[in-house]
Symmetry: C2
Subunit: 169 residues, 2 copies
């Protein structure tokens, strides 16, 4: 996990940050799943191993993609927060989700969020980012109306119920 800095190309440098099979999934679970604790993240859809999760979290904190603080409600709990750097990945997630939805064998349950994000366009992405800033950085108001994540979650629940919850979370 040493920083190689193979070249100064933006695509390459981005890949050196999250060009592995797990980092982006962790961020996905934090952004879209609202997960902020180690054990929550451990219960990912894909089943990440605890040593890999610990390693990636450490790495992401070092890179400035996450911050780690004590959870005031529990002396042993660590609270992970997004930073502006990772919040601004929302448009990347949106494009990636749209591409995956079009070309790969996604399940309906797990792609409904990507569909809504795609259809909402940049305006929705901005609303969502604003919410994440309020939640993770304590900056600004989350904006009026129901939260974007709650809407995405509700849509997922509807589809999952209709499909008999063949795929969880």
């Amino acid at each position: 996990m040493l920083e190689t800095r193979r070249s100064g190309c933006p695509i390459n440098l981005s890949l050196e940050v999250f060009g592995d099979k797990w980092s982006l999934l962790i961020l996905r679970d934090m952004v879209f799943g609202g997960k902020r604790h180690f054990r929550e993240l451990l219960r990912s859809e894909e089943g990440i191993a605890s040593n890999i999760l610990a390693d990636r979290l450490k790495h992401l904190v070092e890179l400035g993609m996450l911050t780690k603080t004590d959870d005031p409600t529990h002396k042993q709990k660590a609270l992970y927060s997004l930073t502006e750097m990772s919040i601004e990945l929302v448009p990347v997630f949106a494009q990636l989700g749209a591409w995956g939805r079009k070309w790969l064998p996604v399940t309906e349950n797990l792609s409904i969020r990507a569909e809504l994000l795609e259809k909402g366009g940049p305006a929705l992405w901005e609303r969502f980012m604003k919410e994440l800033r309020a939640e993770h950085l304590g900056k600004g108001r989350p904006g009026p109306g129901p939260s974007v994540r709650a809407e995405l979650q509700a849509a997922y629940e509807r589809v999952a119920a209709r499909n008999g919850r063949r795929a969880s979370q």
Copy 2:
């Protein structure tokens, strides 16, 4: 390189396609560098090893991201072409490049293309994709005026000349 299909989530499935350190760089060199032969791709900015390149090309062909044909001008040359699936990664590249340019220590030489792509917006991306279709799929006309890739390349040349070519290609 076995297909695990850990979950039907579009982000996860996308990562299973190019969630490694090299696949996306190969595609970048084909899309933005116009490279189509093995030995061209071997001379990447980051220095990919020949066995890794061979493995990734094979994998990308199997997944439908590339096609491989004989180059009529040389009996030994293989010609790699983008498919519609990989051409539609252009918006992903654009968002990823924009994010990397903002948050990572990119060099000016290698990020000028990302800057132009970002400023051009979806309209430019569409023009570029149309060109790639004409070039790689033989479908449709490339559209009037100078090619997007030539414009990006020219911008790179200007910056590289001004900077005394401290970083190559």
